[in-house]
Symmetry: none
């Protein structure tokens, strides 16, 4: 999106209005609305936007933006990958994932991809997506994305006591981990989870 020309950005913005109304204009219709006189000129821009993944085409079906370009309100950004004991690994291309409203929290949410089997006791497997509500504090018993010593990320149930934060694994066979409160920073609370087979 950042490496678009001014004209291309303008076209994307204009197409958003059409998308909001549920329309998919034709080349010549767009030409008229943008003040162009040649469909050939516009076609070059549309082709550029298509290879950039912002526009979807189907022959005879007009021009429509992809979910990625729309910032489709049904989607959330896939921010990165989380593996226990490591920092959250950011993802470059910023894919967006469809998340049903049933799995969304009230506030600002994003999606993390889980790496490794360390959360298996929580029923969260390698490759799963977790939907995280961005928060800096949690209620006891919630499943949180926690950052320990600003270095290790983990997905655990939290118990906050005066003078200590305890992170529980789901499996009672594993002992809970006890930290000083200032070492643990809550990044968000897991409000949903999805898996593809």
């Amino acid at each position: 999106m950042s490496s678009l020309t001014a004209r291309q950005k303008q076209i994307v913005e204009h197409l958003k209005e059409h998308a909001a109304a549920g329309h998919a204009p034709s080349l010549r219709q767009l030409c008229a609305e943008l003040g162009l006189r040649s469909p050939g000129s516009l076609h070059k821009h549309i082709r550029a936007l298509t290879v950039a993944g912002l526009v979807e085409r189907a022959p005879g079906r007009g021009i429509r933006l992809t979910a990625a370009a729309l910032h489709d309100p049904d989607t959330l950004p896939l921010l990165g990958r989380i593996a226990a004991g490591r920092p959250i690994e950011a993802i470059g291309d910023q894919r967006r994932i469809h998340v049903p409203p049933e799995l969304r929290g009230k506030g600002d949410c994003y999606v993390l991809e889980v790496r490794g089997d360390s959360m298996i006791e929580e029923g969260i497997l390698d490759g799963d997506w977790v939907v995280v509500e961005h928060r800096d504090h949690a209620r006891n018993g919630e499943l949180v994305v926690a950052l320990i010593d600003d270095a290790e990320a983990t997905l655990k149930r939290i118990e906050q006591r005066p003078g200590a934060v305890i992170l529980h694994a789901a499996n009672p066979a594993y002992p809970p981990l006890r930290y000083e409160p200032r070492r643990v920073r809550v990044q968000g609370v897991v409000v949903g989870q999805m898996r593809r087979y």
Copy 2:
């Protein structure tokens, strides 16, 4: 629904009004209402909508939309609850659940709510939703909804051999269950899973 012509969308919208009133208009009646003069022209559109699965025809019974066309295409029906060792319990009111396209199969899909902790080894917990693609056969290794002796439902990985069907639990500590093929009926294949916290 997204790759329809403008005309086709208009026709679907118009048919929704008829559906609400319980009518199923004939071709010529629709022609008049849409301002067309030839039933042949309209027939082309209706045929396109039929192959798209939005329109049902029965000879002499007029034109009516399918259930798929009347529902929100982003949702799937919540058919019932599944608990290991019991028949699938149907749900009366037929709620529909938003299911992201990433979690959907190609064919006909529905959602089941999982009851109990019997699938916990698969990372499927009590209360989870599984997205199931309706199929009557599966490939080895797939996670299937299987009906045993037409009575017990279960969610297991399937292995089909000549003369035997083996259902594996994820936990190797539990022995796989071996059945005669005719006792096991595949109802569908799990293609996705969702959880709310």
